[in-house]
Symmetry: C2
């Protein structure tokens, strides 16, 4: 097993090249896609995919197109999410958002392009692998990114804004908008490593718990980060009436719920073969952000 | 072989069900996607896919998820294309466009959802098939719909508006924005039928020529349809400075070029086994629209 920094380097070194490998892309389209794709960030999803694959003895180089595809999907969702018709954000990771730089039309197309490129990369890799592991991994990623997964969560998030926050609604949004795209790399990574059904189920349980903890911590940071920084007790989520865990359950319960989800994530790793320390440490570190 | 009407019925009967088969989709998202998907039209692309598959002895029921996926991709491209930031159209096939009914945010998400659903459907079908035919067919469709195909053509179309029309630019837009998504069903249908490399190449040549003829005729209709109907000699394309074949080559040459492309399409069918009459007749009928 490698360190987070090592996986991160593998992903960073590969992203633009994987995109360019698809062939003759119009220069402006490539530039717009790569602008958002190269904006950095933790690369949590592709790192998780590589680590999950290697945890069960899979091959990192074989998993790399799938890891890059997943980051492209994450990036497309951010570009579309930032559009004026959605969250209307001007800044992302300290840089102007895609539509501020390239205009709304190109931002929509850059998002469409990244989603298409992700599917194409995975399919090309699956053809080259010659067995069904790649197809199954691609299916898992597209399912969790799609209309019963991330897109479903996004729809409920957008249409839920300003509505009465209920535990069910927030749970649905967290499971689909966030946890599905953190479960995808575990499911796909395990499938690429040739895991059996029981192992995949445990991996998905880990991903779900990690994803829920991750989003609870994000909700806390939106409140507490703003509090520390701006001296007010509500952040952007509350201002626009977002359905968050904190809005439904309050700060204290969100904190204990996040810790419980991390405990469940780690518990799911117990019956897995291989060196699961990387995944365990990563789950634990989720809580560091609010401690 | 069946008739166009028979293939059309198979597609119409399957579309909504294929979408719903993906699982628990939020009601509003399903409604928005299905609103555009069920708006009718010729269903040229899915019909072509089924017919191409059957021409080479393939199984229509096996090809159906791929045919429906292709129509979902076509539909997503129309929804995004109609957005205010793109072509800003209020009507499509006589009904209000998606963003007029559901708002821009939902229209963007409905498009994202349809593209995701298309990839997911094909991958699920490919897993069920158990060999590589499905993966290869899905790869062909996503490649031709993606950043070196339809999305590339769309980018050049959007950024080219109002610029100097040159033969190269118009040829690029026609090849990618239109012909790639008419070649995709032939390539995928042939791959699903287990065609060899030479047969696939002939099918792609047919699709390219059919697609170019189809777009030339569309360009003619935009001019001549408007002329007959409104008594003016320029249609919407010219009004917004679209790069069309007519704008570059004039009406007479566009007419003869379209006929020549149909001739080339039919010539490509000559060395194929199976009953190619359906594909031949379909190519010929392209010209009927302007005769």
């Amino acid at each position: 097993m490698r360190t987070y920094a090592e996986y991160l380097r593998i992903v960073e070194d590969a992203l633009s090249g994987q995109l360019a490998s698809l062939g003759e892309i119009p220069a402006l389209l490539y530039e717009a896609m790569n602008y958002s794709l190269s904006a950095g960030g933790k690369r949590l999803r592709p790192v998780l995919l590589l680590a999950a694959c290697e945890t069960l003895g899979g091959d990192v180089s074989e998993a790399l197109p799938f890891a890059c595809a997943l980051e492209m999907i994450h990036t497309y969702s951010l570009i579309h999410d930032d559009l004026p018709a959605m969250d209307n954000d001007d800044l992302r990771r300290g840089r102007p958002t895609s539509h501020k730089v390239y205009g709304e039309g190109m931002a929509i197309l850059a998002g469409d392009g990244l989603l298409s490129a992700a599917a194409e990369l995975m399919l090309r890799a699956a053809v080259a692998m010659g067995d069904l592991r790649g197809v199954r991994a691609a299916e898992a990623i597209m399912r969790r990114a799609g209309v019963t997964g991330m897109v479903a969560g996004q729809v409920m998030d957008v249409t839920g804004e300003g509505s009465e926050p209920t535990p069910d609604k927030v749970d649905y949004i967290h499971r689909h908008k966030t946890a599905d795209l953190l479960t995808a790399p575990i499911e796909a990574g395990f499938l690429l490593a040739g895991a059996d059904e029981g192992q995949v189920a445990l991996g998905c349980e880990y991903g779900l718990r990690l994803g829920l903890a991750f989003q609870m911590v994000d909700d806390l940071l939106d409140v507490e980060g703003e509090t520390a920084l701006l001296g007010k007790t509500t952040g952007k989520d509350a201002a626009v009436g977002k359905l968050t865990w904190v809005a439904v359950h309050g700060i204290d319960k969100t904190r204990t719920d996040a810790a419980e989800q991390v405990r469940l994530a780690i518990a799911a790793l117990k019956n897995l073969p291989g060196e699961t320390n990387f995944l365990k440490t990563l789950a634990q570190s989720t809580l560091d952000r609010v401690q």
